[in-house]
Amino acid sequence: MSESVSPDVLDRVMRTLAETQKLSADKVTPDSTFEQLGIDSLDGINILFALENEFNINIPDESARLVRDVRQLAEGVQKLLNEKPAAS
């Protein structure tokens, strides 16, 4: 998965993650790993829920399971946005 991520999507992913984790925004960078941010499996579920609402997408379990850092997360979101039918 190596979608080119728009700066807006990356920014919104980082902001959503920071809000969900109650972290200050400057702690979250595109290269932060979940391990560095102290994100466990339950936090991950909460982040996916927040991202689904933020972007109005459905994130499948199997692709979510492989994500380990912020950049991969943003790439996954971008991929789902690209696959979304154009808004009518």
């Binding site: 339950l42 579920i45 996916l48 379990d61």
Partner: protein, 404 residues
Amino acid sequence: MTRRVVITGIGAISALGNNAAAFWSACQAGESGIGKITGFDMSGIRFQNGAQANQFNPADHFDDKQLIPLDRFATMAVVAAREALAQSQLELTPEEKIRAAIVTGSCYGGKTSEDAGFSTLYKDNQPRVHPMTIPRLMANAGASALTLELGWQGPAWTVSTACSSANHAIGQAFWLVRNGMADVALTGGSEAPFTYGSLKAWEALRVVSPDTCRPFSKGRGGMVLGEGAGMLVLETLENAQARGANILAEIAGFGMGADAHHITQPSAAGAARAIRLALADAQCSPDQIGVVNAHGTGTAANDVAESAAIRDVFAANLASLKVVATKAIHGHALGASGALEAVATIRGLQEQCVIPTANFQTPDPECDIPLSLAHTPWPHDAAVSNSFAFGGLNAVLVFRRFED
């Protein structure tokens, strides 16, 4: 006062049918009751399969008037209890009914009624809900319905500890009878978790398998929800022998504890501690155990932690142990699971056999336990049955083969 406690009746409602014989027959065959969930528009849900008790229709067992205050989960508890009582042939005098206990387990209570009632408020903008909504949704509705049907007036209550509810209920009923607070008890659990709201909630937790339940198998995708009820009749050995009852097995020990670790991630140390407490309560050493009926949900986390706990406690006798995991057969019936697994454990002790782990594909090096994969004779004197709940609340039972 310590008294021996025996089981003289069992009953089961499950995806495999409406009695313990149908349930056990499927267990022996390794036949899974998991199939497409019906009754809901599943198009917006990521998983499609569950173990619904499709053969169970409350109207076959109750008249219209009786059903007014009863949710599906409560009717299942009553029908399973009727089967267990019929097998035990227990008949109590008015004095004996005062010392007859009922302890049931349920995770959700009357979720079907709650979901239906609240959706009329929120979705249909109706101004009122059915007046029986509260009696139907209370988690103790099964226990209360049983007291009304049977006229039993002893201690009666309901335990709600998610996936451990039935084991906690059975353990407490066992201790009541063993310690002389009651002479007989009806105990087990029931659950009817198939509502649209509940399915969406499980979807959001991302622990439900997209296809089926494969306990301890490499590539397992998660748990699969089930529904049903299991009920046991417990009584003192003295009572059972005095009335010439047919004794199915002995219930010998109960252990419980909390992981104090994580709200959803299990701890192997907590599980092992509960197993050891149950063995100590049964005055049983690990090498006397021939079968472990695992919690075995088929989730990535449970099966690894439980395998580690089993390897820890039974390190010295893994070669003479079989692990049985039946959730691939009856699904994860939450607060009823421990009771259904108790029925399978008791039948296994009676027939001195182990049963297959349905849907198993490939061994997982992280789950290195002696998993039973076939219906085969397996002499054993005692068996352990594990339940580990979300929230880290563990409850383990020890059953013994009964010999005169």
